[in-house]
Symmetry: D2
Subunit: 283 residues, 4 copies
């Protein structure tokens, strides 16, 4: 037979879960979307249609809900780790379990003149999501924490000047532009016993404060400053990867209409967009 399988994996994607946690009248919620992938002894399923070692993806789905019943679901990192370890431990044909989990964010509705927190009513706070990637093998486990779709914009303290030019360069230099991006970040802690939610808040806060306070000379410049500050101020983080699309807000050419545009009127655009990525780590 001329064809061989050099790698294979399978799993269940988009398993969606809401867990309601009750402490008397006060309820908390966690809404997760879980993707699971398995590696292991599954070659004969491909070559012979032998399903005798194939754990159905429907069972993976059931397992998510069953474990969510027992697990406190405090963080996507901890729940993902429980899930991966359970699947690896209980099925000897599996050699590696990976999970990607994203958490939709809800905050309490405030009511009344005193803006009292509701015990049980919530409003979705944006598209931003907490993320976690976990992979577990017999002798190795990795946990990556992250966030995605953190959409931010600043109206000044951002420029792009003195850049390299070639014969196709028509972009004008600017010392003052609108800078908007949707941050995706993933980081690895350098020790195992971390309070994931607390440190997530720290990383997120530093990203936002750097963005707001930094005089940006380029997206790269700001991205690195975010990563450097996370490394400097969150000692638990060993390495952070940041992805920042440049969501261009183009100055509209009002001159052709007989008007001037003092950095007031912009066209938000979705495409094309610049895309900047880097990994910053502790030296």
């Amino acid at each position: 037979m001329p064809a061989i399988i050099s790698s294979n994996t399978y799993g269940k994607s988009c398993v969606r879960l809401l867990k309601v946690k009750r402490s008397g009248k006060v309820h908390d919620i966690s809404e997760l979307t879980v993707n699971i992938l398995l590696e292991g002894d599954f070659e004969s399923a491909h070559t012979d249609g032998d399903n005798s070692k194939v754990l159905p993806t429907d069972t993976m789905k059931n397992t998510v809900y069953a474990l969510a019943k027992e697990d406190p679901v405090n963080s996507p990192e901890e729940f993902g780790l429980s899930l991966c370890e359970y699947l690896l431990k209980n099925h000897e044909q599996i050699s590696k379990v990976s999970a990607e989990i994203s958490e939709k964010l809800w905050k309490r509705i405030h009511t009344g003149e005193d803006k009292i927190n509701s015990d049980h009513s919530f409003i979705r706070s944006g598209n931003e999501k907490k993320t976690a990637k976990i992979s577990v093998m017999e002798n190795e486990k990795t946990i990556t924490s992250g966030l995605t779709d953190l959409l931010i914009l600043k109206t000044t303290d951002s420029g792009f000047e003195k850049f390299y030019k070639d014969k196709y360069t028509t972009l004008k230099e600017t010392s003052d532009r609108v800078f908007s991006t949707s941050v995706t970040a993933e980081w690895i802690y350098n020790k195992p016993d971390v309070n994931f939610n607390e440190q997530h808040n720290n990383v997120r806060r530093i990203i936002l404060e750097t963005f707001a306070g930094h005089k940006s000379l380029s997206v790269q410049h700001t991205l690195y400053e975010m990563g450097k500050n996370v490394i400097e101020y969150v000692k638990e983080v060993g390495e952070i990867h940041i992805i920042m699309p440049n969501k261009h807000y183009l100055l509209f050419d009002l001159e052709k209409l007989g008007l001037n545009n003092d950095n007031e009127i912009f066209i938000p655009t979705d495409e094309p967009f610049g895309l900047i990525e880097a990994t910053v780590k502790r030296s």
Copy 2:
């Protein structure tokens, strides 16, 4: 000729605009998406390819940006009204101008231990949008204010019982369920001189507080309560139309896995979904 045109309209959709407003170091922003539609004397464009009365949709786009330069862009309602009135007044072949405007919502980034508002840095606060629909004819103008994509969820004080049953009814009655919806609301003021942003906040606050505080016997029941409270407490509103999809969170059947589910573990679903609409008006 056997074919006649019984109605026609045309315009420009998805004209996107950011206006930056500066008061010294403090900047404010408005990000709008504008759809324009015209009616008028355009029949010969269809039947004869005669473009002599056709204002290009590209010109409508330019007009949005030109007016945004001059206009303070305080609210989608006021900007939309200026836009419609400008187009109607300046082009006699136009008999009616309609605009639909939605505003993406940004709030200031807080920085530092004191959580000071940034002067110029913003974070998108969710998918929720302010909306306005304006239409202007020679002797008539209408303004509708609204909001959309207000995504909310409550974990108790919601049931659905004693409903009508037929031979295909299999749904179980429940006195305690998760209730989630994405509110779309549109309302009409009963007087012309309204502070649109202030009243928008009032309507939105009442919708949220009603949702949080109300013991819901059905989506209809809550929708009406929202509408009734808006009519009662915001005397400027004459009529409100509310659309609430029932974003079902289904109780996962843990019993088949040998576990019980005390209203803890739910499956969020996107489809199918219930859809409830009503108009409530001042009697």
Copy 3:
């Protein structure tokens, strides 16, 4: 009480269905998405939380599947009519039932050198969908047939010249441009006993042939020509409404790069877009 309900409706959206129809070894499929809305005696559900007349939306979903079992599901129009009539007839609190149905299109996979049709294997043929809107009351029923997301493009025989200009007009006249649109059309037959699938094919064919064969002076011009030809050649159609966004393909300015652009290099754009609509009917 100062608030009254002036209108209300409710139903189930996005009920998705695949029906497999077997004639020996040859299988046919219909994949539908169904939205149902009811009107009737539902006021007390809103005002008093009285569910005694509320048919659950879950039951509407069940009804779709139950009727699909019995019905041949030959066309979205006929299935929608069966569904609406069933719901109206069996529930006296209902005064009006509306259904919107869209059908995803599949064609057979060809295999072998002879390109033989597979008996049971299919490939999705694009995003285009057949649509039907049905509404049924005691003494009235209406059926609208349609199509949506029919995405087409022509590279010549399209211009836009001699248009009306004002002070904000910067668009250049062009006698040769790329014209692309995504057609949505809805039409009403002028007699009840129509072969819906056959006539749908006729309308669709005329729209495509008009687009391909017509020298377009504007989107309006082509839209009307389509409508006029449908009215002329499909005598069963009484009226057709067509919506055509102008999906702009902009000529890229190669001159600024020292090159010329002989209508060769274009930028496809999603937004903003022109939007043209008209209704053409039999006179």
Copy 4:
């Protein structure tokens, strides 16, 4: 300084291009979406805000359009290779250029009773796209060809039986089910001088014919059969990676409504979905 950059890249995404190619009256079109990423000597841009080596992403965009003017744009593979080689050769600070290109597919509109091909009018043939991934360094280049969003469905000759079961397994065995998937495939040729479009057609045809003709014992079984047949019949392909989500069509439980369901009535679902991947290569 405790923070160092361990990797970085940047580029332009979603550069959209239509090239119109004219041979007398007969026109051909290619519609591409291009993503470019660069690696190289860009560290000081991050650490010092030094843009002197930063080729603007706007220039990358211009380069796409300029090269598309000169290049015949015969295939995404060849155009991508030209683009990457141009950028690498002309800018010494760049050490690696990667491009991901997808091509939207258009076919000619047929007109008249003879179904004659239009010279210049086209209809989008589905969501399926041709894809290519190219990366070029000084001493190495790789070209990956592919397709994505090839949406297929079969109504029989598919089962899933005798699978592994644990305590959370509730899935029932079935010897006859609906099997639908959206194929993504990427393959590498084992020689440089390939007619990319011709071989793409061959790979695609084998994937479709395998799907239609194969008795599937699992998604894995079919995926491997596709890969094996590509390796066997397209001698130019050295390795193919296939990703197949299991787009579940669930049998609707008609028994609870007093009806039986002989594999006729299914619920199409988007989530959750099984996800199966493997790489098959020439041994």
